[in-house]
């Protein structure tokens, strides 16, 4: 059986930062990543980040992934990376099983784990929602920006959050027409700077609208949209047909924490964090000792805060294993201050109201 000190599940922004932070403290780390390359969602983010200077504001996501990978090389003696490897289960005896491609099934016994498993796109139920041409917005972004595949010619974007707005813009950069962007909410959810850029390019952003039905024989040909009232119920007589061959569903993400749930972590459904998340202490340790969490798996936010959470979880996991640097308190406070700054403003306040519900002040693991 393979052994390691810290196992980091997920090589996205949170996982990479957790690995780097733990290695900086002196721990040996194994990073397990399901995809064939590191970086998580950063590798398809061709736009520049907002966030903070410390977390690479004004740098494109794909370049942030490169910066983090370059940092990994500095710790190549301590950090081992396993790509194409999916974690399949966490067990009570501390054993983790994993699958490399579809070729090798093996077990790992770590001393501690940081689960940085990220998020999953939410889906939407409407008639004919299984027609080819209907995608998650994140999937379209992957197709375009990672694989260079144009998804179609005429797109309806369902959801005006940041992902919906950014992917719409990137579709237009790729020469694809965006027929409209809908959102069931009465207000645009994403940043107005993104929304106004798109509106200036002539794309209507229709609030209080939803998709009523998809129409098509072998693939998507038309979408029927309609207005909704304040309770999100469709208003009869407001239907409109749009000729589109692609529909992107961008109705939000939800934390991916099935591994934590199966291991027996206490979970809580928190709307502000977009789904079911593990209860944890201030050091990112879940109710299962030595099992830490960071990034979108502990609540949907931005990559900037996921990176800081990763640094914190890696720092705390390493400290728990005996690698407590002399400047632990300073580093902890520094990262906490960065998170506080990233979470200022109305969106941040909303997130903080969610976090309050999952962080337990009492310490079960002392």
């Amino acid at each position: 059986m393979k052994t390691t000190e810290l196992l980091v599940i997920g090589g996205g922004p949170a996982g990479l930062c957790a690995a780097l932070s733990a290695a900086e403290s002196g721990a040996s780390v194994t990073v397990v990543e399901r995809n064939n390359r590191l970086g998580g969602q950063l590798i398809k983010q061709t736009h520049m980040f907002f966030g903070s200077r410390e977390q690479y504001a004004s740098t494109r996501g794909i370049d942030i992934a490169k910066i983090l990978e370059a940092e990994l090389i500095k710790y190549s003696r301590q950090i081992e990376v396993l790509t194409d490897t999916a974690v399949l289960g966490l067990y009570e005896d501390g054993v983790v099983n994993a699958l490399y491609k579809e070729e090798d099934y093996f077990k790992i016994k770590p001393k501690a784990i940081v689960a940085a498993t990220g998020a999953y796109e939410k889906s939407l139920a409407f008639p004919n929602n299984d027609l080819p041409g209907i995608y998650g917005a994140g999937a379209v972004q992957t197709l375009m920006n990672v694989y260079g595949v144009k998804p179609g010619n005429n797109v309806l974007m369902v959801g005006a959050g940041n992902i919906g707005l950014i992917v719409s813009y990137q579709l237009m950069q790729a020469g694809v027409r965006v027929a409209a962007i809908l959102d069931a909410a009465p207000k645009i959810g994403g940043y107005l700077v993104h929304a106004s850029k798109i509106a200036r390019m002539g794309v209507p952003i229709l609030c209080s609208h939803t998709v009523k039905e998809a129409i098509g024989k072998d693939c998507l040909e038309k979408a029927v949209i309609c207005m909704v009232d304040e309770r999100f119920s469709p208003i009869p007589g407001t239907e409109k047909e749009l000729e589109v061959d692609v529909m992107c569903i961008s109705v939000g993400l939800t934390p991916l924490c099935e591994l934590l749930a199966m291991r027996g972590c206490e979970m809580k459904y928190v709307p502000q964090l977009s789904g079911s998340v593990p209860v944890r202490n201030e050091r990112y340790e879940t109710t299962i000792e030595n099992l830490f969490v960071a990034g979108d798996a502990s609540g949907i936010e931005e990559a900037s805060s996921a990176m800081v959470e990763g640094r914190l979880a890696g720092l705390c996991a390493a400290a728990k294993m005996g690698y407590k640097p002399a400047d632990f308190d300073e580093r902890f406070k520094g990262y906490a201050a960065q998170l506080k700054a990233l979470r200022s403003g109305p969106v941040g306040e909303h997130i903080l109201r969610g976090i309050e519900q999952i962080v337990s002040k009492e310490d079960r693991h002392v």
């Binding site: 099983n97 077990k107 139920a125 004919n128 299984d130 099935e258 591994l259 199966m262």
Partner: protein, 94 residues
């Protein structure tokens, strides 16, 4: 509702889910045992919240009070041959 897919792994429709809820099957696990919803390759990641919301609306509960299914390993499919190979490897090491 007949053409609205809730579970794309096992092709379960919104109609099937609503009919079952109307018959009194108001937990995810019950609906799963009848329809196989949540048992496919995605293990409930696509259908989970849609079913939870349907149950919540039907019985007047909050989403947070509707329990999701029990997660079990493995989270993705793995060939039995590979599990046997690992078991043999562990025996040899002993």
């Amino acid at each position: 509702m007949e053409n609205t897919i809730v579970c794309r792994c096992s092709d379960v429709t919104l109609k099937q889910v609503r009919d079952l809820i109307a018959q009194g099957y108001v937990t995810f696990d019950e609906i799963k045992r009848i329809t196989r919803i949540g048992m496919g390759p995605c293990q409930g990641k696509t259908c989970g919240q849609i079913v939870q919301r349907e149950i919540a609306m039907a019985i007047g509960q909050k989403m947070s009070d509707v329990e999701f299914q029990t997660n079990r390993p493995p989270v993705v499919g793995v060939r039995l041959e590979l599990i046997a190979k690992e078991a043999r490897r562990n025996e040899e090491q002993r």
